[in-house]
């Protein structure tokens, strides 16, 4: 497997604040990596470093390039949508297509037009971005991005502020129009539950450090949730859960690489959701 993104000991300081602290990870081709972390965890800083928007310490290679120093070459093969990288409000839909068409060597105008035809923006080619709803702007942005033959797509809170229908549509369009085994996606979002079904890999980041980096398959093998109560709960607790919470009078405990057969004797076993695992990991890191 080839690594599209390779980070070794990457750090970034803002004054005295260490936003990213000695982070190392690899992202391989054809993966959909979810980068999950609380606000201020360093997600956006890390993405900026990957996009060459900010310099950093350590070794960082994206598509074999130094992102900060070879940004133009990089941008031919990377696309990103970020809630902070908004489309200019004054531009018309048709002008935006003209501009990307004339500056981006890997952009297919035909593909963008046909993707747009399937959206609410279809009849609004002469409208300015400011006249479109937020949902339409996201559809427009995704249509443009999906029409770029890019190797890596970076999404930073792409569905922030959208209603549930647009959010669902966004991710289903992402999979149908953009993703294939030649392409790779790195996505951050707070709405973890909406993307956990599409991820192949997940990485948790907190206070600038990576606290978990696993494939989704190994995650379900490594972590297990037990629902139990009463005496069983006391016995299970002796096996060292990494987190525990109460639901309807029952105890729900989360274990890392437990003896499943033994644990199964105490109650029902489930694969934990990413959100629950995330909360457990963050609390565990804080404890």
């Amino acid at each position: 497997m080839t690594s599209l993104v390779s980070a070794h000991g990457v750090s970034k300081n803002y004054g005295n604040v260490r936003a990213v602290d000695n982070v190392s990870f690899e992202i391989e081709k054809g993966k959909i990596m979810g980068l999950i972390g609380p606000n201020g965890a360093g997600k956006t800083t890390l993405l900026k470093a990957v996009l060459g928007l900010t310099d950093c310490e350590g070794e960082l290679s994206v598509l074999g390039l130094d992102p900060f120093r070879q940004r133009k070459e990089l941008m031919q093969n990377i696309c990103f949508i970020a809630d902070v990288a908004v489309l200019p409000r004054w531009i018309r839909v048709s002008q935006l297509l003209d501009f990307v068409d004339s500056t981006h060597p890997n952009f297919s105008r035909e593909k963008a037009e046909s993707l747009l035809d399937k959206t609410n923006v279809s009849a609004r080619r002469d409208s300015r971005v400011r006249e479109l709803s937020k949902g339409m702007v996201t559809q427009l942005h995704l249509s443009i991005i999906a029409a770029v033959d890019a190797k890596l797509l970076i999404l930073d809170e792409p569905t922030l502020g959208l209603d549930i229908i647009f959010r669902k549509e966004f991710y289903s369009n992402l999979l149908s129009d953009y993703f294939d085994e030649e392409r790779t996606i790195l996505v951050t979002t707070h709405q973890v539950e909406e993307i956990e079904n599409i991820l192949t890999d997940v990485m948790f980041i907190n206070e600038g450090r990576v606290i978990l980096d696993e494939t989704m398959d190994s995650l379900s093998a490594s972590y297990v949730e037990l629902m139990t109560s009463g005496e069983h709960a006391d016995n299970a607790r002796k096996m060292g859960p990494i987190a525990e919470r109460d639901i309807f009078g029952k105890s729900v405990m989360l274990f890392e690489r437990p003896d499943r057969d033994r644990l199964g004797e105490f109650g029902e076993l489930h694969t934990p959701s990413i959100a629950d695992l995330f909360v457990a990991k963050i609390k565990g890191a804080a404890a």
Binding site: A85, V86, T103
Partner: protein, 305 residues
Amino acid sequence: MIANQIALIRREFWEHRSIWVTPAAVAVVVSLVSLAALVTVSAFDREVHLAIFSAANLAGDAERQAALTMYFLATSWIFLVSLAILTIFYSLDSLYSERKDKSILFWRSMPITDSETVVSKLLTAVLMLPLVTVAVIMATHFINLIVSSIWIAIQGGDAGHIVWGSVALFDNWTAALLFTLASALWMSPFIGWFLFVSAFTKRAPLLMAFMPLILIPIIEWLFFRSKIFLEAVLDRGDLNPLLRGVDFERLFDEDKLKVNEEAIRLLAQLDIGDFIVSPSLWAGFVVCGLFTTAAIYVRRFRDES
């Protein structure tokens, strides 16, 4: 590279419609004032316009040409004033608005370098704005000459002779083009400074751009009792080497009450050679280059978070 520049400059025209709306608005005002002048003259006694026609008919070619050239200058200077104001606002807005509306990260997600983007804004300010303004000056001049011809024809005058036989279109228009472009090049250090302020400031670009121009001379005077900075700035406004040859007294020979024929040609007033070899011009380019480089640096290295 060139394809990107064309796309980027076209983008500037989309975003800043004032590039053509401003000269177009001035054109409407100038044309209306010209028309009002014709109407006003028509309202006077028949003797007045007869006097105008007989004067126009009796005057020599040189006088008629001088009168039409004066008319061209009188209607054109206001475009240059509006161009100066437009250039200031355009340059100050060019790298500021993309940060204010947060679209900068979208633009930076395209495979375009920061240098290409900033250079496209410099080229727009130094070349495209003057070119658009000159094109509108020419169009306005042409339209107003046609309107004047119609008026003269209605009054029974010979427009072909009075207007079209006398107007020095090539001279007037070429001089307008050269003067406008040369003025923009001459003022390029200010344009570079405005681009830098636009890339750099977090708020109030207009204030940030002009405050140092006022504060530095005051501080310099208080501490050093010198006026080097102030004089350098004022000289830039004053001493365009292109116009060094202009001598308004040569235009009209008072003793003979006659227009001086070789002096009424606008092109003859402009000293292109002197302008191009002027060290001040090239010093200005260096200053413009330094500020533009600084603007590129700021856009490239500043972290927007």
